[in-house]
Amino acid sequence: MAQTVMRALLAMRDYWFGREHAAPMAAFRISLGLIVFLDTALTLLPHAARWFGADGFHSPGETQWWLDQPGRWGLFNGTTDITSLRLGLCALMLCSWGLIAGLATRLSAACAFVLLMSFHHLNPNMLNAGDALLRIGLFYLALMPSWRALSLDRRILARFGWQADPSAPVWSLRLAQIQLCIMYVATGIDKAARFDAANLGASAWFDGSAISKALRFTTIARTEWMAWVPVWATAPMAWVTLLWEILFPVLVMFRRTRPWALALGVLVHGGIFLTMEVTHFSLTTLSFYWLFVPASVIMDMAGKSEDGERRVYRVFFDTMCPVCNRAKRQLERLDWLGRLKFEDLHDRRLCEQAMPGVTYAQQLRAMYVLRPDGQYFAGFAALRALMPVLPMFWVLWPIWALAWLPGFSHLGHAIYRWIARNRFKYAACDSEVCSLHLKLIAGKEMDDEVIAQVVALHERFNKAKAAPQ
């Protein structure tokens, strides 16, 4: 009993006070910095007089009772001098650049939080949930040592000979993660509390019409393109969304279900952003998602490790197979940042060094990808693992998100296996070695005899390649 309690306490200590790589915090910082910059530059600064000025949509006395509530504070309460307010907004933009670049990071985060909160308190009438979440995000960011990764601060310190540890205490990251969970759970419970078994139509989330109604919301839905979507088509989405909101903390708690929960969230918020005008709410919420993404994925997207080493993905493919060669050429075309290194799976010494335990037979059945952190993936999972380093998928993020969802990922695995199994039928071979190779591995058990024949063929293949034309 005592041991169990002790173990639980230690786990709790590690959960709150352990150290993790600061890359997720840095990605969160950069995303919030971009949103603060765009929000200030596009919606606040150009209309400052309208939102905050003496002749604007707000009179200083209007929210005095609200500002007077115990605990609430701000820098500009009662100020209507538009020049000072514009200077304040410029300072906020300056802080957002600090966040993006990671320059004077802690100071920038603290100042951005105080400034944004002060502007929000000047005219709370114009705020929506996205504004509240952005302000709250900046508060957590001010507590986070996000300068420890992907920042100019780090580079400047390195110039002076101090190589800062890229890992950081995680308690502030945990607070921000829990904040997002509370947001979803409170929202989900609020919706669920409207359940009335006798009258399902009383709640749009239970009769399944919520999303359809949202798409027909004339003053919020971006255009009428989606207004025709019938209730029955969106009802499953409404139920899944409600369930996902309530279960979000549980789903992100387990490593196995976390990618599904996040992928679904990316689709939900991406869908909201594309179809509805709710300012930056979706983007701000998605910024919090970085805090759940493994540091290795973020470092892979960034392209370099902290010591400046280039993070290269090694792709092991079958050089004798024309379908695999075609796939390789496609990947090379998408590899705009030069992050992929292609290796021949028939080079056994190299393969065994890189991925000990993976057999020749396994590699002949599927493409393998080795990540810089030493993890490897096969088949469809390998293709999915490549998405973070292919910039095209940063734009086509819904595909990336879909690839993680149950159902879609199973379909992906099935399609990959089918193509791999049937590549013999659809490949146009340009040499005898190629066709012999494909015939040899098509639908066969990869026993020692077959492997030996593959090796022999590969030798012929190499000789043919080396021979003068």
Binding site: W16, F17, L42, T43, R50, D55, G56, F57, S59, E62, Q69, P70, G71, R72, F113, M117, H120, N125, M126, L127, N128, A132, L133, R135, I136, F139, W171, L175, I178, Q179, I182, M183, Y184, V185, A186, T187, I189, D190, K191, A193, R194, A204, W205, S209, A210, K213, A214, R216, F217, T218, T219, I220, R222, T223, E224, A227, M276, E277, T279, F281
Partner: protein, 218 residues
């Protein structure tokens, strides 16, 4: 020196733990109190204690600006309201100041006056506006129209801004008008076969610039 470092670490850890405890406790109390039901909190803690806890949670979260209650898209309606300002001229005509969010009428004859209620359903059919970058003004207009009819600060400042903008753009004078009213105009969202259309307008408040201490000529 070693003891000082260790003491600093322990005390720092305790401070952080206390902060996390208070913050998470406040967040949970603040966000789950209403969805789970106030009565449950009161039954568990006692009425007085529950009230005190709520008061301190509120103070804590307001000081850190984290006091948002989360209930996005709790229930999605089938209609929405936009403000409509009506200026009654002394010569008997009236001028309508439309909200930037008000969808334009599709089939109405030129000069059609939907305030009169004489338009048919087809004449109330509207073009769908492109909703992009108008989230802030929508929020302001939502706040202007929230609550029952009558005076409010938000309505006063909204009327003031819109009227000043109109007078500045048209060159008209306040003396040309005998009365200024704010109406709530209903926008019915598409429903089955029915397209988006304007519903009726209902009166909200009268605005009298001469009674508004903050009114200034444009």
């Amino acid at each position: 020196m070693r003891y000082i470092v260790r003491a600093y670490r322990i005390l720092g850890g305790m401070a952080v733990a206390a902060f996390c405890f208070c913050h998470l406790g406040s967040l949970l109390e603040w966000n789950l109190r209403y969805p789970l039901g106030e009565e449950r909190f009161e039954a568990t803690l006692g009425e007085q204690r529950a009230a005190t806890l709520h008061e301190y949670a509120g103070r804590w979260l307001r000081a850190l600006s984290c006091e948002q209650h989360w209930n996005m898209f709790g229930n999605v309606g089938t209609s929405s309201d936009v403000p409509l300002i009506v200026l009654y001229r002394k010569d008997g005509k009236r001028v309508l100041l439309h909200s930037p969010l008000e969808p334009a009428l599709k089939n109405a004859p030129p000069g059609g006056d939907y305030l009169s209620g004489k338009l048919s359903d087809e004449q109330r059919e509207v073009e769908w506006p492109l909703n992009f970058g108008n989230g802030r003004i929508r929020k302001i207009e939502d706040n202007v129209l929230s609550g029952p009819e009558g005076y409010s600060f938000a309505r006063m400042s909204y009327m003031r801004v819109r009227l000043r903008e109109y007078l500045a753009a048209s060159g008209a004078s306040l003396a040309d008008f005998q009365r200024i009213d704010l109406f709530r105009l209903r926008v019915m969202h598409p429903d089955g076969e029915k397209p988006a259309r304007l519903g009726g307008a209902s009166w909200v408040m009268q605005y009298e610039p001469r009674m508004d201490s903050e009114w200034r000529k444009p």
